[in-house]
Every structure is written in C-alpha cells, then in structure tokens.
Symmetry: C2
Subunit: 165 residues, 2 copies
C-alpha cells in the first residue's frame, strides 16, 4: 500500500474517535515550540501537549531560521503567544555535515549547483546550537522583547528533555 | 506553575515509559510531512505515525518556504526520504491577514518597521495554497525530480484529512 493510502486509512480511524473539534485558533497555552524535524522526536508527546495547546514549528535542526522568525512573529502578533521553547536533540543529522559537503552531494546526486552559497544551518556543538537559537529569537526585532524563551536538548535514546538555556 | 516546569514534569512521565530509544536516524517510512504550526493539528497523531517514521517540518501555513526546501533537501540527500506530504488545514490564521496588515501590527505593537517588505506567506484560498506548495516542492532544483508529493487539507473540527493535490 502506498504511504498516502496508509495515511488516509490511519486518519479515518483517528477522525472516527476525534473529540477535540471545539478548540479555538489561538493556542491555549500561549506558547510556541521550535523543534527539529527529526522523526524520533514527537514534540507534543514529549512535553505532554493536548490538541489546541501550542504552536509547533519544526525544521532541520530546530533552528531559529528567518522562516522560523516569520512563524514566531505571526504566532505572537496574530494569535497571542508569549513564550518560545526551543528543542534540539542528541544524534542530530545537523552535526554530521558542512555546507560545502551538502552542496557537493546535491551537485553529485541532482546535477545542480543550487546548493552552493546557501546556508543549510548545520552545527558542530549541540548545546551551543540551542543557546545560539535562543539568543537569535530573543534578539529578533520581529519578536516581542518580553518573550519568555527557554532551550532544551531531547535525548532520542531515553526520551528525556534537559534544559540548557 | 511555569509552562517550562509543566513541560519538564510531563516529560519525566513520558521518559519513564519511553521504549523507542533504538530507532535509527533515517526515517523508517522514508517520507517527510510539511504541515502548519497550528496548535490544533498534531500531524503524527492525525496520520498514525510512530516514533522514527517520518521527518516533520512545520511553519506558519505549512508553506514550502525557502527554509522548508532547506529541510527537505537535507532530509532527502542525507537521510534518504523520497516523499513529501503537505498538510494545510481549515480555519487557518494565514487566511486572515495580508503582508501590509501584519507589518502594520508589528509597527504598532513593537515600534519597528522590520515587518515591511517581508513576505509572511499568507494565502486567500486554502486548497490553492496546498496546490501551490506541492508545485513549489516539485519544481525546486534542491528537491529530487522523482519525489512523490501529495497535498491534503486537515479539518480541525472533524480531524479528517482530505487529499487535494
């Protein structure tokens, strides 16, 4: 079965039991999670979130990219969130490459130079990457200056979250 | 109790029961979900994903932004994913504003012009926004040309997913 069909079949079962259709658009907990896209991290489960609780922004690394700042700004200005919780994790793919290496791999696999000159936002130090992203969120002119920002590392082997910033 | 403490307390309970510490870095289902950050959408639950199954990229709108393409490229070139599933949803905040309106709100609330001239990627037509993002993913030089791409709308009132692209 194609994954698309599996998703639709699993969703039919989910929708049949769904009881949270009355939640409003603004997040109940007035917070946003910024986390890595890693398949082993399910942020809502890891911190006990219910449907409607928090915005959840995810990208490769859980980085405070320009696009993450766009999302945080929309979340705060239009939907009333006041906190940002940054979650990176152990064994992250972002620790394993440099910009030059991925650009060369794109060239080799896809035959295009489009990867060169781009910043794919890899990092060499996991805890420092969290501190850097917390600092980027705090210093952005598009983020409210009184925003509460915390940073954590999630351990993919134990499921444990540790605060680091 | 601060939200930070609630997260850490909920995580202690989660970690105490955690049994999925043996999953490898590459996603088992070789796919990536691109979904909106909305608090009412928990993508993994909505399509039946287990820990380790799929990358999950999320931002305001679930848009195929330049940063989402960065994440997809890393997911494909370094971690072997072959499919992208785009999920937008009903009652999305992105349907409610224009770039000028949010830039003016940022100016009013935060006293900065930093919002002007930016594209916050709002949209006026939900299904069309899914088709647009599917097309953007398919046409990116950083995405493999044989990538399987599907697009869906998730109904926040019923939990139901409908394929639209």
């Amino acid at each position: 079965m194609a994954l698309r069909e599996e998703f639709l079949e699993a969703n039919s079962a989910f929708a049949a039991e769904f009881k949270d259709g009355d939640k409003p658009l603004p997040p109940a907990r007035k917070a946003l999670i910024l986390a890595c896209m890693d398949a082993r991290l399910h942020p809502e489960k890891a911190v006990g979130l219910h449907i409607g609780d928090c915005h959840c922004v995810r990208n490769a690394g859980g980085r405070a990219s320009d696009d993450a700042i766009r999302s945080i700004s929309i979340s705060q200005r239009l939907l009333g969130t006041k906190e940002v919780h940054v979650i990176h994790h152990t064994d992250c793919g972002m620790l394993t490459f440099t910009n030059d290496q991925i650009a060369a791999k794109i060239k080799e696999d896809l035959g295009t130079d489009a990867g060169y000159g781009r910043d794919f936002l890899p990092f060499a130090d996991l805890e420092q990457s969290v501190r850097d992203d917390v600092a980027t969120v705090k210093s952005s002119p598009l983020v409210a200056p009184d925003t509460v920002v915390h940073g954590y590392v999630y351990d993919v082997k134990t499921g444990k979250l540790t605060e680091v910033a």
